[in-house]
């Protein structure tokens, strides 16, 4: 609007374009009578999944907590008898979460996943704080096959050294053979 008449024309054109919308349909979805379609990748309520063997996937690496822009994930690492890691507690404060999905991207084990569920209103804010028992589901979520401990070299109760993906049998350092 620097004073040129051409600019004025563009304003008029805009008004005309808008006016044409008098005859187009509203995009609004009448939730809750009408449920919107949410794609599987929709970023809603967060869950912790299990690996294909039914074990908790989360290894308490803390990466999700570190990447979370609002710092709403807190957990503490604990160790199982076989030396594998798991979270002693895992807490998400959904009253802070902005559903950005960064935690899911950071997670090296596909444990933490966002789901197409956004209906999580509460009258009491305290109920927005989810602990591990509220987060952990009995399934693999979006990634059916991945099992971190099958890939990583750490020894577990069911997998000896050298049995992970692409691993050779352990070396005997006392052997003189090449």
């Amino acid at each position: 609007m620097d004073g040129g008449s051409g600019i004025m024309l563009s304003e008029l054109r805009t008004m005309w374009e808008v006016l044409k919308h008098t005859f187009t349909k509203a995009e609004t979805v009448q939730y809750p009578e009408e449920m919107p379609y949410l794609s599987p990748r929709y970023r809603g309520r967060i869950v912790l999944t299990r690996d294909p063997d039914g074990e908790e996937r989360c290894v308490a690496c803390n990466l999700c907590a570190a990447v979370c822009p609002v710092d709403c994930i807190a957990l503490q690492k604990e160790t199982r008898a076989d030396g594998t890691w798991y979270p002693e507690f895992f807490r998400i404060n959904f009253s802070r979460c902005i559903m950005c999905g960064m935690c899911e991207e950071a997670c090296p084990t596909y444990a933490i996943q966002l789901t197409p569920d956004f209906e999580m209103c509460e009258y009491d804010r305290q109920n927005m704080v989810y602990e591990k028992e509220n987060l952990l589901i009995n399934g693999v979520g979006k990634y059916p096959d991945y099992n971190f401990y099958r890939v990583s070299g750490m020894q577990t109760a069911t997998k000896d050294k050298g049995e992970a993906k692409n691993e050779a049998a352990p070396i005997d350092p006392k052997s003189l053979l090449p």
């Binding site: 609007m1 620097d2 004073g3 304003e11 805009t14 008004m15 374009e17 808008v18 006016l19 919308h21 008098t22 187009t24 349909k25 509203a26 995009e27 609004t28």
Partner: protein, 324 residues
């Protein structure tokens, strides 16, 4: 008996004005929805009209709070000023033949006076809030209104010259044959733009520009005091629309040939409705300019146009007089 008519009319306008303003808040939102491919308020009552009531109840029940740092008296006075000024403006509007509160021979000047009073409301509100955003908003509105006041007044001079009177009834009557929107097209454009600026509606809502100034001059206002500002704004919208119809679109006159089929009041209301829709369309379509753009538009475009309009109108009138 006939003395009672203006009094009755005044009452009707007072109450009707408030009601229409309230309905306008809903209507505007619905209309914006239509143009923006959504619904707008549609949950309460038929077509969501109940929203008006809900909003009113909400505003009424809000805490009537005055910030401790504000200038209390001025702070409370400011929102009333705009409502009063706008209401007063309606006194001279000729809705239909004989249907006006008072027909003064300087009706037009009275209208201009009342609209310029409204600036005090915004200015004082901004000043009394004792808040930087409010102050900035107030300052903007002062500069904006004072500037556009000039073109607004000047743009009407063509109309005055052509009708030869400041009386609004006379002006309407002067349009029996030809509405001024044709002969005074330049005046119309300037008046419409200045009118938007005067009522600081979008896209010229710079005094409250929420992206920059939180909420500008009414940052600190809430509850009924805020509602008064809103009421003032919608009354202003109605008043300007009425004036545009009166001054440029033949007031109560219907279009030629079919004009007499329906009563004058209908034609007046019908035209006002369209002008209001046009204002809403502006809001739906045009983004807010920068403040300096607004000012340069005023002084570098509007002012020359009005002056040219004046000169041409004068010349044509003189020529016609000479010829006639």
């Amino acid at each position: 008996m006939s003395e009672l008519i203006p009094v009755l009319l005044a009452l009707i306008i007072l109450i009707g004005g408030v009601i229409v303003a309230a309905v306008l808040t809903w209507f505007e939102r619905r209309l914006l929805g239509v143009w923006q491919d959504r619904y707008g308020p549609n949950r309460l009552g038929p077509l969501g009209i109940g929203q008006v009531l809900a909003d009113m109840i909400k505003l009424l029940f809000k805490d009537d709070w005055v910030p401790p740092f504000a200038d209390k008296v001025v702070f409370i006075f400011a929102p009333t000023a705009i409502v009063v000024a706008m209401m007063m403006g309606f006194a001279v509007v000729p809705f239909a033949p004989g249907m006006m509160i008072i027909d003064v021979n300087i009706g037009l000047l009275f209208f201009l006076g009342m609209t310029s009073l409204a600036v005090y409301s915004v200015l004082l509100g901004g000043l009394a809030s004792n808040n930087k955003y409010a102050l900035l908003g107030g300052l903007r509105s002062a500069a904006q209104m004072v500037s556009y006041e000039v073109f607004m007044g000047l743009s009407l001079m063509g109309v005055v010259m052509m009708s030869g009177s400041f009386s609004l009834v006379a002006i309407v009557e002067a349009q029996t044959d030809l509405w001024f929107c044709f002969s005074q097209i330049l005046g119309l454009i300037v008046f419409v733009i200045a009118g938007i600026a005067e009522s600081h509606r979008l896209p010229f809502d710079l005094p409250e520009a929420e992206h920059e100034l939180t909420a500008g001059f009414h940052t600190e206002y809430g509850g009924m005091k805020f509602a008064m500002f809103m009421l003032g704004e919608y009354l202003g919208l109605m008043l300007i629309s009425c004036m545009i119809v009166t001054l440029f679109f033949g007031g109560w006159h219907g279009p030629a040939l079919i004009g007499h089929w329906l009563p004058p009041l209908f034609w007046f209301g019908f035209k006002v409705f369209f002008v209001i829709c046009f204002f809403v369309l502006l809001r739906a379509a045009i983004p807010r300019p920068r403040y300096d753009q607004l000012m340069s538009l005023g002084w570098k475009v509007m002012l020359p146009i009005t002056l040219i309009n004046l000169v041409i109108t004068g010349a044509v009138l003189l020529w016609m007089e000479g010829a006639g």
